[in-house]
């Protein structure tokens, strides 16, 4: 293949070269253990704490100690869900999560459900949003924790967090949000959002994989999930990954500096793709297109009469990287739970295609993608035993 067009920035991002540069000294030179008292350890400690301060400031945290560094979004989510629910030795209570959370939230919620807690899933409506009144209706006397993601990783809708947090708090519950897809990409301020905890992942913002953070409002009790040496003020054990922290902080700084110019650019490129795809393909739609509160860089299409993995592989042959919510791409039985949660019929969910743009996406990339996608879809539709019928039904309906 000649061209490589990466359009899966929501899955992961390359490490920005400035981020890598910032990390480099911490591998082989400034390699001290941040817990050690001697110079090399103090140097590591200082760099690590400096990274924490910068990260804290960039999310509007009041104290650097409100940032706990972790091994990634998944660990942050596991820690938040289980650690907040079971804080102080609590063994039961009611937990609310949205139905279209990432599995890193759903799975620990399920664990809680098997270990003494009651879990309610609140469904998004077809607009891809969790409506405050739906959360309100799910609240109970004994609700201890509400977790609703900030920006959905598949469809890109942004949840009305402040309103949701207010409801959680009014009911005496804590509010956690999985912000892996939003931190750095849109305005993000823990105090404006009114949340008690938030999960972040470094590799979604041009930082290294295997690193992340958990925001935890001062005074919020949490049971540590990673137990051991007592690092991170006893809230997350394990030798500190200094290079990771430095990279994450640098990555976030760059996101912050670039956001004002990057976000509108990405939105324009996304719209260019959306217009191209919808304009040139029949029986194709954009999920939650009517919703204003959306991430600038994600577009999720339903292309009827084709299966996602097949599109993906053909696009791959042209050097294009995208993702799909089709069951077959994940080896699971059902297509994306996100698409099902917003009411997408299962048979069409298999035809989903998520395009997510990023720092290095160009107009040429966008056009190349559209130009390559059209014939692929046409070819797959021509091979489908059902497409003629779908089309006929559509024309009739």
């Amino acid at each position: 293949m000649d061209r490589t067009v990466y359009l899966d920035y929501a899955a992961t991002t390359p490490v920005d070269e400035n981020v890598l540069e910032a990390m480099m000294p911490f591998f082989s030179e400034r390699y001290g253990n941040a817990n050690s008292l001697y110079a090399l350890g103090r140097d590591a400690y200082t760099a690590f704490e400096d990274a924490r301060e910068r990260v804290a400031a960039l999310m509007g945290a009041t104290h650097p100690g409100e940032v706990i560094f972790t091994s990634g979004g998944t660990e942050s989510d596991n820690t938040a869900l289980i650690g907040l629910a079971t804080a102080g030795g609590r063994i039961k209570g009611h937990v609310i999560v949205s139905a279209f959370e990432h599995h890193a939230v759903l799975a620990p919620a399920e664990w809680l459900g098997k270990h003494g807690f009651t879990v309610t899933e609140v469904s998004p409506r077809t607009d891809g949003l969790i409506h405050p009144e739906d959360l309100q209706a799910a609240m109970r006397e004994d609700t201890v924790l509400v977790s609703v993601m900030h920006g959905n990783n598949e469809i890109g809708t942004i949840q009305p967090l402040r309103a949701l947090a207010d409801i959680a708090h009014a009911g005496g519950a804590l509010m956690h949000t999985d912000a892996a897809q939003t931190l750095g990409k849109i305005d993000f301020d823990v105090n404006d959002l009114g949340i008690d905890a938030a999960s972040f992942s470094s590799h979604k913002i041009y930082g290294p994989k295997g690193f992340g953070a958990l925001y935890l409002r001062k005074g919020t009790r949490i049971a540590p999930y990673m137990m051991g040496g007592g690092q991170e003020s006893k809230r997350r054990s394990g030798t500190q990954n200094v290079a990771g922290a430095v990279g994450f902080a640098r990555a976030l700084e760059i996101m912050d500096a670039e956001r004002a110019t990057e976000a509108p650019l990405l939105a324009a490129l996304r719209d260019r793709i959306v217009e191209g795809v919808l304009g040139r393909l029949e029986l194709t739609s954009l999920n939650c297109c009517e919703t204003k509160a959306r991430l600038p860089h994600i577009a999720n299409f339903i292309i009827k009469g084709v299966e996602g993995e097949a599109m993906l592989l053909h696009l791959d042959a042209k050097g294009i990287a995208v993702s799909t919510g089709s069951a077959c791409s994940s080896g699971s039985l059902k297509p994306s739970h996100v698409l099902l949660a917003i009411g997408c019929p299962q048979e069409f969910a298999h035809g989903s295609l998520r395009v997510s743009l990023g720092r290095y996406t160009t107009e040429k990339d966008a056009d190349y993608f559209v130009d390559e996608l059209i014939p692929i879809v046409e070819r797959l539709r021509s091979m489908s035993p059902l497409y003629a019928k779908i089309k006929a039904e559509h024309s009739a309906g």
């Binding site: 097949a310 592989l313 077959c328 791409s329 080896g331 039985l333 298999h350 091979m383």
Partner: protein
């Protein structure tokens, strides 16, 4: 997860795509809810598969296994053709990723259905046995590789 070159070849350049006009037998299996539907049409001569074409809505494996099964079956006796196993299909494709093994059932089932259709249409007994994948409740992932905890 990795596909063999042969899977990719059959996916990219599927053989025998289409529908035989006035086919002797037609099999349609799968389920759009599950994301895969396959239709096989055959011409039969002397109880042999004389011509065969397919249409598939499905993932890469579904398309590649459909393609290869048409190649394998062409020229076979009906009896041999119905007994092609999904293991043989996978082997013929130089293997399938464990998580994808189940997708190959569609191809053999489509073929079975087409052959039985031919036989029944001609007043003969079906020989393929039960065809799981046309059952809407069939769970193609029933025989997964790695056990989850």
């Amino acid at each position: 997860m990795l596909y063999s070159d042969k899977v990719m070849d059959h996916f990219q350049n599927p053989r025998n795509v289409g529908v035989i006009e006035n086919a002797d037998g037609t099999g349609e299996v799968g389920n759009p809810i599950r994301g895969d539907v396959m239709k096989i049409t055959i011409k039969v001569e002397d109880d042999k598969v004389d011509d065969i074409m397919f249409q598939t809505l499905g993932c890469g494996t579904a398309i590649a296994t459909s393609s290869i099964v048409t190649e394998m079956a062409k020229g076979m006796t009906l009896e041999d053709a119905v007994s092609i196993t999904k293991k043989q299909v996978a082997d013929e494709l130089d293997g399938l990723p464990p998580a994808k093994m189940h997708c190959s059932v569609l191809a053999t089932d489509g073929l079975k259905a087409a052959i039985d259709d031919y036989l029944v249409k001609n007043g003969r007994e079906p020989i393929a046995g039960p065809i799981l994948s046309s059952d809407p409740d069939f769970d193609p992932h029933g025989e997964e590789d790695e056990p989850a905890e």
